[in-house]
């Protein structure tokens, strides 16, 4: 194994955040390399549907201040307000940039960008492209990547970060197409590897969403922030967990229980179906737990929208419902239930995307700036990938351009080789899927929408047992070089086990209900006095250690949060 | 007898007159009373659709309008490409009242009746593969094919896009096989029967087209077919008239007779050479005919 190449800026992950960072770094004059375990357009950003938020004011009075307030409130007051201000202020410019690059957004009658209402938004500010916004963004960003001729190490599985001399200096990868460990050196590295929804059995996430970047940072001793906050999207199809966009509700769809009642009236009488996601998921779960659901699901009813509107504005959702649930939403309500969707927590960064480790940056879902706090508004995640992807890319480029050396020690490569051989040498034992399924089921059961002390403690034990089974050795049947996803899937499982440990540990310690962390049975209210702070998880001697850090408040003092 | 409007298309009018004569002779035997449309033009093939699509729409609307004016329910075609073009134009007009209104306004302005009463466009193949037409076919094919091995060649546009054509599963079609069997022949199966003969680019990109054309012919020969049958005169032209070009590229003289659908059924129904006009084929059909006589 040898150092394959070196770059000024190395971006790991080629979704919206990764590609935006790479483009910006390139435009700032840096030599950029992008590492991705998938071809860029396969990244999960492309599955986003409903839209991207910015206070353009096209559909009604709006302002970055209003967007900021909605986001701060939506975060249940632990979003860092200076970061949120930056996001909301810079968002409009970023959207216009995308449009100038050719993004195929939906339009208003007057030719301006259309904006639809979304959860917990005071004004309709979600810019969209029918219900395939993520797809449109992925396409335009990849086009711009191709235009600049940026090098992409496609189907390279990033496994370990290289730290040397108190700096991050590169990434050790497994080359999926040809086989073998390859090291790519970078004066700076930007993590943009997305989330880890695959920890849960019911998730909107792709198979690829296994938290590899967060795990790499974790293992290096970096602080991960707010790990306990996992967003459950209210409308995932039953039984697959496939996402039906919030945009359906934005277009006016209802949520009804098995009797046809629009139950949101009892939980969020003003915002109704467009309350904040955590509120809606909890309401649904309550209806389901109290017996007013069917097959553990309630229903998304679009019948009253009419065929024309559904086909024009929500054709993707209709096709998903028909293909994966066998239901045509024009005629019948679609069974949906909460599913793991987005991780608010992640690698701690400052407002420029820099982490604690010099030379290492992070942006997008893998990062925690934090703009989303305890709960994210729909449409804000895509915006975060663009705005903070850009900022991290520029910051990384500027740092790289003012520094000259890269030094990847031989020992790092040697250690990795040894570890790899150990993994492949396991001859007898479990196959990874068994541990993966047990993790997914138990996390859903014990660390889902509603959480209880006893169940979370039980989950810690379960995770410990699962890690033990994993450490004992899982059998990787494919010992070959070519397209060995058997190997990479085993590594991904290890990542997910470590991350879930952090998540549950932080969850037990947070003795309150805030945002997506709901403990209605033991700690039903928010406790600002003791817990208006961020959880910090660090890996010390092979286990997570918990501490706390301050929330950055600028303008908004915490208020009661109702919709 | 069902009265249908008959649109023969360009090839059946000119270089493939044998298709027209066979069809006209066969029609009454399978219960079809053909009302030949005269005030029509070429349907445009893929060419006018690509070069001047608005004109393509209007030309086909004109054909549909004249068919409708005959008071029939069905417009009968004998060519894959005509069928696709007319059906596509038909769906556009039926599915968009604004477009239909504009097109009709134009038609009326030049003296053509507006297309108001809807007609359905159907290939002869579909008429005789099932239902009443099929029953009549079985009776008509009294002379039979005496177990001849016939390789059906569907070509492309009678099957795809299946959203528009829709008669049968585009990947597992059965109509030609059923007809071959009803006529007393043995249907040969081979992979390239639903692939492209290359005709649309046989002049502009000859080499590429021949690379396509060789596949069905070679496979039919290897499967032991006595002849091939196709519902499209453009495919027929490729398979028959351009077969000699394959000799130059492969050194092989395939000598595979190619029959129009109407001719194949016509043979089984005892039509005469004056109606079948096999003499117009480039590749001789004699060996196949001799086999039946034997």
């Amino acid at each position: 194994m040898h150092v394959e190449a070196t770059h000024d800026v190395l971006v790991v992950g080629a979704g919206c955040a990764g590609m935006r960072a790479a483009i910006e770094a390139h435009d700032a004059g840096a030599d950029v390399g992008v590492i991705s375990k998938l071809h860029p357009t396969r990244s999960h950003s492309g599955a986003a549907e409903g839209g991207i938020n910015a206070a353009l004011g096209n559909a009604g009075e709006d302002s970055p201040a209003s967007h900021t307030f909605d986001t701060v409130k939506g975060s249940d007051y632990i979003g860092d307000q200076d970061a949120i201000e930056i996001l909301c202020r810079e968002a409009p410019g970023d959207i216009f940039q995308l449009e100038h690059w050719g993004a195929v957004f939906s339009r208003r009658e007057d030719g301006k960008l259309a904006q639809r209402p979304f959860g917990a938004a005071g004004s309709p500010r979600t810019v969209f492209a029918a219900d395939i916004t993520g797809h449109v963004l992925i396409q335009v960003l990849y086009e711009q990547l191709v235009k600049r001729g940026i090098t992409v190490y496609e189907e390279f599985f990033a496994w370990k970060l290289v730290e040397n001399d108190d700096r991050c200096q590169g990434v050790i990868c497994w080359d999926l197409l040809d086989g073998g460990l390859k090291t790519i050196g970078g004066k700076t590295v930007v993590l943009a590897t997305g989330g880890q929804g695959r920890i849960y059995r019911t998730t909107t996430n792709a198979y690829a969403c296994t938290g590899d970047g967060a795990a790499m940072a974790l293992h290096l001793g970096l602080p991960l922030k707010d790990m306990e906050f996992m967003q459950f999207h209210p409308t995932t199809l039953y039984p697959t967990g496939i996402l039906l966009t919030e945009g359906c509700r934005g277009e006016g769809a209802y949520l009804i229980n098995k009797d046809g009642e629009r139950f949101m009236k009892r939980y969020a009488p003003n915002a109704m179906e467009l309350a904040s996601r955590d509120v809606v998921s909890r309401s649904e779960q309550t209806e389901i737990d109290q017996g007013r659901g069917v097959d553990g699901s309630i229903f998304l009813d679009m019948r009253h929208l009419g065929a024309a509107r559904i086909i024009e504005r929500l054709p993707g959702s209709r096709e998903l419902a028909m293909t994966f649930a066998g239901i045509d939403p024009i005629y019948d309500p679609v069974p949906v239930r909460p599913g793991a969707h987005y991780h608010m927590g992640g690698v701690e960064t400052d407002n420029e995307g820099a982490t604690e480790l010099t030379g290492l940056y992070a942006a997008g879902e893998v990062a925690c700036v934090s703009v989303h706090g305890a709960n994210r508004l729909g449409g804000n995640s895509l915006m975060e990938t663009i705005t903070f992807g850009r900022r991290a890319g520029r910051a990384a480029a500027e740092w790289a351009l003012s520094h000259t050396t890269i030094d990847v020690p031989r020992s790092a490569e040697a250690d990795a080789e040894r570890e790899l051989q150990q993994l492949l040498d396991v001859a007898e034992g479990e196959r990874p899927w068994q541990i993966r399924n047990d993790l997914g089921t138990s996390m859903l059961e014990n660390f889902g929408v509603f959480r209880r002390e006893e169940q979370m403690l039980e989950q810690l034990d379960t995770i410990e047992a699962l890690r033990e089974r994993y450490e004992r050795g899982v059998v990787i049947e494919d010992k070959g070089d070519v397209f060995n996803t058997d190997l990479t899937q085993a590594i991904e499982l290890g990542n997910m086990l470590d991350l879930s440990w952090c998540m549950v540990q932080a969850g037990i310690a947070r003795k309150e209900s805030r945002g997506a962390h709901a403990r209605p049975y033991d700690y039903p209210t928010r406790d600002d006095e003791n817990f208006m702070k961020h959880s910090i998880s660090r890996w010390v001697d092979g286990a997570p250690q918990l501490s706390y850090s301050e929330v950055r408040v600028t303008e908004y003092e915490p208020m009661e949060r109702t919709y | 007898m069902t009265r249908v409007a008959y649109y023969k298309g360009c090839l059946a009018s000119l270089s493939a007159k044998e298709l027209d004569s066979a069809t006209q002779a066969l029609a009454p035997k399978v219960g079809l009373d053909l009302v030949e449309l005269e005030s029509v033009t070429c349907c445009g093939a893929g060419d006018i659709h690509e070069a001047e699509p608005d004109y393509y729409l209007h030309l086909n609307a004109r054909i549909l309008a004249y068919a409708a004016a005959e008071g029939v329910d069905t417009l009968l075609t004998v060519c894959n490409v005509c069928t696709l073009n007319l059906r596509q134009a038909n769906f556009i007009l039926l599915g968009d009242s604004d477009v239909r209104a504009r097109v009709n306004e134009n038609l009326v302005a030049i003296g053509v009746p507006a297309y108001e009463r809807d007609v359905d466009v159907r290939h002869l193949l579909w008429e005789i593969a099932e239902g009443e037409g099929y029953e009549k076919l079985k009776t008509a094919a009294h002379r039979g094919l005496k177990g001849l091995k016939i390789a059906p060649f569907y070509g492309c546009q009678i099957l795809r896009p299946s959203r528009i054509q829709g008669f049968e599963d585009p990947d597992r079609p059965w109509s030609l096989e059923r007809i071959i069997e009803a006529c007393g022949g043995e249907a040969i199966d081979y992979p390239a029967k639903i692939k492209c003969c290359g005709f649309p680019i046989i002049q502009a990109r000859e080499e590429t087209a021949l690379g396509e054309l060789i596949q069905p012919i070679e496979q039919a020969v290897e499967a032991g077919a006595d002849a091939m049958v196709t519902p499209c005169p453009l495919c027929h032209l490729s398979l028959d008239a351009w077969q000699s070009k394959l000799k130059a590229t492969t050194g092989r003289d395939f000598k595979m007779p190619i029959l129009h659908l109407s001719q194949l059924v016509g043979v089984a129904a005892g039509l005469q050479e004056s109606e079948l006009r096999f003499k117009r084929h480039v590749v001789s059909v004699k060996p196949m005919l001799e086999k039946i006589e034997a």
Binding site: A47, R303, I330, D486 | S13, R160, S162, C196, L237
Partner: protein, 367 residues
């Protein structure tokens, strides 16, 4: 349910090929992708295939089932299993196989990149740096092309590409149309010129396999037709394919029926036509070359002439002529034609209860 599969295993390094058979127990809602996952997890971890989103948007899982390219995640197995059919799964066509169901996508991406697949702006900077003002109707020109997820199903089945691997292909051409039709792009003529090259628009054989196989409704063949139409409108018509097409228009206007005999020299030029003389004579002997004189003229052909001029002046030219039909043809795609009212939908037998709000319902009862 019990599901059987046959999978073509292949290793490009060793050249070994074998048809492996699997039988697994899968849930009723399982897709082909789910079944492959079960095979890989529980039967043979060496099976190689791509996957990611499992919801038909990432485009990773293109593969052939019984010789026809599909997205594995979109293909439900219930009916197939019920019928007792054991499908044969193999890698997509027209691309080199790396291993099992994984193809080398480099040739695919190379063609994609060759059409300059990014906006080359040709507009003045909008005031205040805001968005370009464009009506939805105008953007709809490229709506279908913008749906493409680069899955490769169209390329897999392209008959022209199978015969000539250098053909640009349906995906690259559809992507090119996405820019040719984008009002913000400033290089339409340049793009069209390039696309009229030897392996561009006019090498498409019109087999419609791409339209048939595309899992997203892009209809690449129609995108290619749009490019052809726009090329002709802009006077870019030097290719033999364009000349061939033009002659059809001329024929329709003048004689109604195609003037076949003159087609060859009109398409290929007089010199080439002369080279074909031997071939032409073989055809002429059979009467396949109808004499151009006297011309075979359709009845009332004057109408066709007048129609041409009338229509041309109405300005639905170039790709607009094809876009105008998309609204109607989309009805065939989304499969919804009937126009029931909401009441009719709510009243269908066995329909789900109507939505209501409890407070209002209580109030109604009380009053």
């Amino acid at each position: 349910m019990q599901v059987g599969l046959k999978v073509w295993r292949f290793n490009a390094r060793t050249g070994e090929r074998e048809l492996a058979e699997y039988e697994v127990d899968a849930p009723e809602e399982a897709t082909l992708l789910d079944v492959l996952d079960i095979v890989k997890d529980k039967h043979d971890g060496t099976l190689a295939y791509r996957k990611s989103c499992r919801m038909m948007i990432c485009g990773s899982c293109g593969m052939r089932m019984d010789g026809a390219a599909v997205l594995a995640c979109k293909t439900r197995m219930y009916d197939i299993a019920q019928a007792g059919h054991v499908p044969v799964i193999s890698a997509m066509g027209n691309l080199p196989i790396v291993k099992d169901l994984v193809v080398d996508m480099d040739p695919f991406w190379d063609k994609f990149k060759s059409v300059d697949p990014f906006l080359r702006p040709g507009y003045d900077e909008p005031p205040g740096g805001r968005e370009n003002l464009i009506r939805q109707e105008r953007m709809n020109v490229i709506h279908k092309e913008s749906l493409c997820i680069n899955c490769g199903c169209c390329v897999s089945e392209c008959n022209a590409m199978e015969s000539d691997p250098r053909f640009l292909g349906p995906q690259a051409l559809a992507k090119a149309m996405r820019f040719v039709g984008d009002p913000r792009d400033g290089h339409k003529i340049e793009r069209l010129d390039a696309l009229n090259g030897e392996h561009g628009i006019w090498e498409c054989t019109r087999c419609y396999f791409c339209n048939e196989r595309c899992p997203k409704g892009v209809d690449p063949r129609d995108a290619i037709a749009k490019l052809g139409a726009e090329s002709m409108k802009e006077g870019i018509d030097g290719d033999m394919g364009a000349k061939h097409a033009k002659w059809f228009v001329v024929s329709a206007k003048t004689t109604g029926w195609l003037r076949e005999t003159e087609l060859v020299p009109k398409t290929q030029g007089l010199v080439a036509a002369i080279k074909q003389t031997r071939f032409a004579l073989d055809l002429a002997v059979k009467g396949k070359v109808p004499p151009p004189v006297p011309p075979h003229v359709a009845k009332n052909v004057r109408q066709a002439r007048r129609l041409h001029d009338l229509v041309r002046d109405q300005g639905v030219n170039g790709y607009a002529g094809i876009v105008q039909g998309e609204h109607a043809l989309a009805k065939l795609a989304h499969g919804h034609v009937s126009g029931e009212t909401l009441e009719e939908i709510y009243d269908r037998p066995g329909a789900f209860p109507r939505p209501y709000i409890a407070e209002e319902a209580e109030e109604a009862v009380a009053s």
